[in-house]
């Protein structure tokens, strides 16, 4: 019992019966310690983290959320990975022996040829018994990657990344063949997936030319495809697991039981309470440290700030990964308990739940209390953008409204003070956004200032007047212009945010009503196009401007294709520039195109860009090698911790304070005894 020393210490002198006995009784009964972990785990290298909601699925073909990637990224291994320390983000080989050979094939097609490391094994899993009695693992082959790519194309799997991967030749065609075949032969649809795929024939652009060789044929204007090979979507997937984990006869579903070749295995998974990742003894980094594989060895190069932060400590450089033997994530629905437990030393880092760290950081730095506790802070700008969007199909604020609509949007943009917004809602965290592109992404210009993202009430009022809404009065009704801000967020914090925006717009005389409905109603509104203003965010899949600018491409318009262009922004010149920019390599030419695109956005204002989130990771001093990583990519394998130091600190910080208990008992006795005495005396 961690608090035991404190308890017995307080009680030592008290032998006579009295309040001390009660305290002792209460403490033994209720185990007076706030340590949430079994005492036996105190000295193990276990990293404690948390999750808010269990991911809906852990199927790497579908899982697309940060909380899911925290598991799938550690359990599934990919051909490529990002360098842990280098910025801008750089791809390094993962399962692949090296970066792929790239050559141009026929007209407009590029071939990427991967070579897989030999002798890489999957984790131990009973499903491999399907491939031969008694087998519990097998070697990873490129056919498994082909299988997974087929799954991505399979309409029944319903992968969210069909769109970008359709740049692979024959990708959509494969899905279509599958669909037609299934409709024609209901029998066929009941076969195991890998048999169906084999029967339908390969994806044209995916060629397994050797057991460990894989060539992928991709449209030349989509060089970003490589990034997808650094994401769990394209992991090798054993067909055995897909067939075996079908949710029938007590077997879990694949969505709840990942089977991969990554550094960790999911040892325990209770969606309501916790999950545990244990080191995978079959991981190639563990079995073959002598390979010194780039993704299984602590990196030796990085940025200057890494050296300063001790992330290039010679004690770690070149050592085989991983260091942490187990990761235990507990469910924390509420931010406060999570953060308090972090302060008590029961979580090692507060970097997963965002709400928590804005509580302790003021004016960009750590509070004194945090610093005293040896807590460190790592800031990094995430490749994200948060924005308020206008529905450009709307009659009042959209493209239809022509010039008045544009002026209205410009005016509304001019009064939203992002600095203040950041100060109030994230303690100054976040970079005020001038365009959709965040720092660290090509095309971001630190010197660019969007004239409509300055705060200028006077100019905004002028624009309102020019738009025909002098003082915000709608000439048709003679009353303030009324707009609606739709959101599915009914939380308390959400309400405050919206109140902030509506207050800003009320200065212009615009009355914006917040319609915080439930998610169903919100989706229905979005589907029907019955919305005016909304708030949204985008987290990059990969570090390329294309992944941001496509959010305003007319092909992606929600109203037309159900795409993520919820603003329904349709601008022919923008589209033209976008398509040209997309396949260009980073360089001056591309920069010029991007600049013209941002100019269009600056003028048209389909969005009010708010900020690019800044990640403030707090961690205790016993945790080392922490570097914030913007992309949804787990970095547990690089981290290390000192369990002994942790235990000592926890004990020092969590000694139970018992005097209030004594005080309560004394007050109770003091108040009741006279009454009891009088009562008894009266009856004599």
């Amino acid at each position: 019992m961690t608090g035991g020393a404190g308890v017995s210490g307080t009680l030592r002198g008290a032998r006579r019966p009295g309040p001390a006995w009660v305290v002792m009784l209460v403490c033994t009964l209720l185990a007076c310690t706030n340590n949430p972990y079994p005492d036996a785990d105190a000295d193990k290298k276990i990293l404690y983290t948390s999750f808010r909601e269990a991911p809906r699925t852990l199927d790497p073909a579908v899982a697309y959320t940060t909380s899911a990637h925290a598991i799938t990224g550690a359990v599934y291994e990919t051909l490529l990975e990002y360098h842990y320390l280098k910025r801008p983000y750089t791809l390094i080989p993962g399962l692949a022996a090296g970066l792929p050979d790239t050559r141009s094939d026929a007209e407009g097609v590029t071939v990427y040829r991967f070579e897989l490391r030999p002798g890489v094994l999957y984790q131990e899993d009973p499903s491999f018994g399907l491939g031969g009695a008694g087998r519990t693992t097998r070697e990873v082959s490129t056919a498994d990657i082909e299988f997974q790519l087929m799954r991505l194309a399979d309409p029944a799997v319903n992968s969210p990344v069909v769109e970008p991967l359709s740049n692979v030749l024959g990708f959509r065609d494969f899905g279509e063949r599958l669909r037609v075949r299934r409709e024609a032969e209901p029998e066929f649809a009941t076969l195991p997936a890998h048999e169906q795929y084999a029967d339908v024939g390969p994806i044209e652009g995916v060629v397994v030319d050797a057991p460990l060789g894989l060539a992928v044929y991709v449209a030349s204007d989509y060089p970003q495809i490589l990034y997808w090979f650094a994401m769990p979507f394209t992991t090798p997937m054993p067909w055995e697991a897909v067939q075996y984990y079908d949710g029938e006869d007590g077997r879990p579903r694949l969505a709840d039981h990942p089977v991969g070749a990554g550094p960790y295995v999911l040892a325990e998974y209770d969606k309501q309470a916790r999950y545990v990742l244990d080191v995978n003894p079959n991981w190639y980094g563990v079995r073959h440290p002598e390979w010194k594989a780039p993704a299984a060895t602590y990196p030796s190069e990085g940025e200057p700030e890494d050296l300063a932060a001790g992330r290039l400590d010679p004690a770690y450089v070149g050592r085989p990964l991983p260091f942490i033997e187990r990761l235990e994530a507990r469910r924390e629905k509420e931010a406060i308990p999570y953060f308090n437990k972090f302060l008590q030393g029961y979580y090692d880092a507060a970097g997963v739940i965002r709400e928590s760290f804005d509580k302790v950081i003021h004016e960009g730095g750590l509070s004194d209390e945090m610093a005293r506790r040896g807590i460190s802070l790592e800031k990094s700008v995430e490749p994200t953008v948060f924005y308020i969007g206008f529905n450009m199909d709307d009659e009042v604020i959209g493209t239809v409204a022509q010039e008045p609509g544009r002026k209205l949007r410009q005016a509304m943009s001019l009064v939203v003070d992002t600095e203040e917004y950041n100060r109030l809602f994230s303690n100054g965290r976040g970079v005020p956004a001038q365009s959709p592109l965040p720092p660290g992404i090509f095309g971001y210009d630190p010197d660019y200032v969007n004239p409509y993202r300055l705060v200028d009430l006077e100019r905004a009022r002028g624009l309102m007047k020019a738009a025909g809404y002098a003082d915000g009065i709608d000439p048709e009704t003679g009353k303030p212009l009324t707009l609606t801000f739709d959101t599915p967020d009914t939380s308390a914090q959400g309400r405050l945010r919206f109140e902030f925006f509506t207050h800003a717009w009320r200065q212009l005389g615009i009355d914006v009503e917040v319609a915080a409905t439930n998610y169903n109603k919100f989706q229905e509104k979005v589907r029907n196009g019955a919305y005016q203003i909304f708030m949204w965010g985008w987290v990059a899949d990969y570090p390329d401007p294309e992944n941001f600018l496509f959010l305003l491409w007319s092909d992606m318009a929600r109203s037309a294709s159900g795409g993520p262009n919820t603003a329904n922004f349709k601008h022919p010149r923008y589209d033209e520039l976008y398509l040209e920019m997309k396949s260009k390599p980073n360089g001056e030419e591309r920069m010029v195109l991007i600049r013209e695109m941002t100019d269009i956005l600056q003028r048209e204002r389909p969005w009010i860009e708010l900020n690019h989130a800044e990640d403030y990771a707090l961690f205790h001093d016993w945790l080392s090698n922490v570097k914030p990583f913007g992309m949804s990519f787990p970095t547990v394998k690089y981290r290390d911790l000192d369990a002994g130091a942790r235990t000592r600190q926890r004990e020092a910080w969590n000694e139970p304070v018992l005097w209030p208990l004594y005080a309560l008992i004394i007050i109770f006795v003091a108040v009741t005894v006279p009454g009891v005495v009088t009562f008894i005396r009266e009856r004599q």
């Binding site: 931010a335 406060i336 953060f339 308090n340 709400e355 928590s356 509580k359 302790v360 003021h362 004016e363 509070s367 209390e369 203040e420 100060r423 109030l424 809602f425 003082d471 915000g472 009065i473 009353k479 303030p480 009914t490 939380s491 308390a492 914090q493 309400r495 405050l496 109140e499 902030f500 207050h503 009320r506 200065q507 212009l508 005389g509 615009i510 009355d511 915080a516 409905t517 439930n518 109603k521």
Partner: protein, 340 residues
């Protein structure tokens, strides 16, 4: 009709009704005795409730116009209540402690130093203003719900108790069905299905809350029906409706009042839980508490928000509980014990 006009009319009706009721109470010896005895026992609590009611009324009487609304250019076109006018245009930029002259974090000078008796919230809104506005919401929840639930319960309870037979069976079945669903879940489900609004919260609270009172009024009606003078009236051929309205309902009046008071605190507390689930009523204390929850982890801690909302809620519930207790003693010693 615009909402604020309606609200003003309701206030007028309420005040007229209150004056009328006072007249009735003064004329009836039984009622005025009961009230006198209540007043003697629970003076402070009654004054406290009176204060809440007054604040709610001040927040309900509103009109359009005026110029003192500061940065807010929309406010002058919208109806503003007396309470809102009293606090108009004193918004700050962010947190400030009670009666402070600088912002809580960063220490920038306030626009209106020393004006905020209970400080300001994240968005610089005056906390005293927000806390006082909660009174109207709380009374609205309690009042509107009771207004729906009590007539419903009386209608079903009295007709079941009086007519018996099929009607009784039917009402009893409906009551058992509703009562057997877990209250809070039913409440939440109803609100989720009806969509979030003050009115649907009240309807949901009424649907889940009327059963208890229905049971009491049914039982009491059965008892009354057996009384000799009512049997006699029936034997003399007095009409059923006349018996119900002249003899049964007046004898249920004290039950109605006690139920109303006892129900009230439960309703307001339930709303706090709904707020936590994100389906409460806008501007309620529950919502303020929910918003202020995270502030306890701020460093230095922001305590005035949660304290203001918490104690405003606590004060009202406490006063109502005390009065309800005494009311039960004064008016009815036994019938409502189940209502605990």
């Amino acid at each position: 009709m615009e909402a604020w006009v309606f609200s003003n009319i309701v206030v007028a009706i309420l005040i007229t009704a209150a004056v009328g009721l006072t007249g009735v109470v003064l004329r009836s010896r039984m009622w005025s005795n009961a009230f006198l005895s209540l007043w003697r026992r629970r003076r402070v609590a009654i004054i406290a409730i009176g204060f809440y009611v007054l604040v709610a009324l001040l927040d309900s009487v509103s009109w359009v116009g005026g110029e003192q609304f500061g940065e807010d250019a929309v406010a002058k076109y919208q109806a503003q209540s007396i309470l809102d006018r009293a606090f108009a245009g004193i918004r700050e930029r962010s947190y400030s402690a009670p009666l402070a002259s600088v912002e809580f974090y960063g220490g920038a000078p306030l626009v209106h130093p020393g004006r905020h008796l209970l400080g300001t919230d994240l968005l610089g809104r005056d906390v005293l203003h927000l806390a006082l506005k909660g009174a109207r919401v709380a009374l609205l929840i309690g009042g509107l719900t009771s207004l729906i639930a009590i007539p419903l319960a009386l209608l079903f309870g009295v007709s079941a108790g009086y007519f018996g037979g099929r009607i009784d069976d039917f009402v009893f079945f409906i009551m058992s069905t509703l009562a057997s669903m877990p209250g809070l879940l039913l409440l939440i489900t109803l609100i989720m299905v009806m969509g979030k609004s003050t009115f649907s919260v009240c309807i949901a609270l009424a649907v889940t809350g009327w059963v208890g009172f229905c049971r009491v009024s049914r039982g009491e009606t059965i008892k009354l029906r057996e009384l000799e003078y009512i049997s006699a009236a029936r034997a003399l051929g007095v009409g059923e409706m006349r018996i119900i309205f002249r003899h049964i309902l007046p004898n249920l009046a004290h039950l109605v009042i006690i139920t109303f008071v006892l129900m009230f605190s439960g309703l307001v507390l339930s709303e706090a839980i709904l707020s936590w689930l994100g389906i409460g009523v806008d501007g309620s204390w529950g919502q303020m508490i929910d918003q202020a929850r995270d502030e306890l982890s701020r460093d230095p801690i922001v305590w005035w928000n949660i304290s203001a909302a918490g104690s405003a809620l606590f004060g009202l519930i406490l006063a109502v509980n005390f009065v309800g207790d005494a009311l039960r003693d004064v008016m009815d010693p036994r019938t409502l014990r189940e209502g605990e």
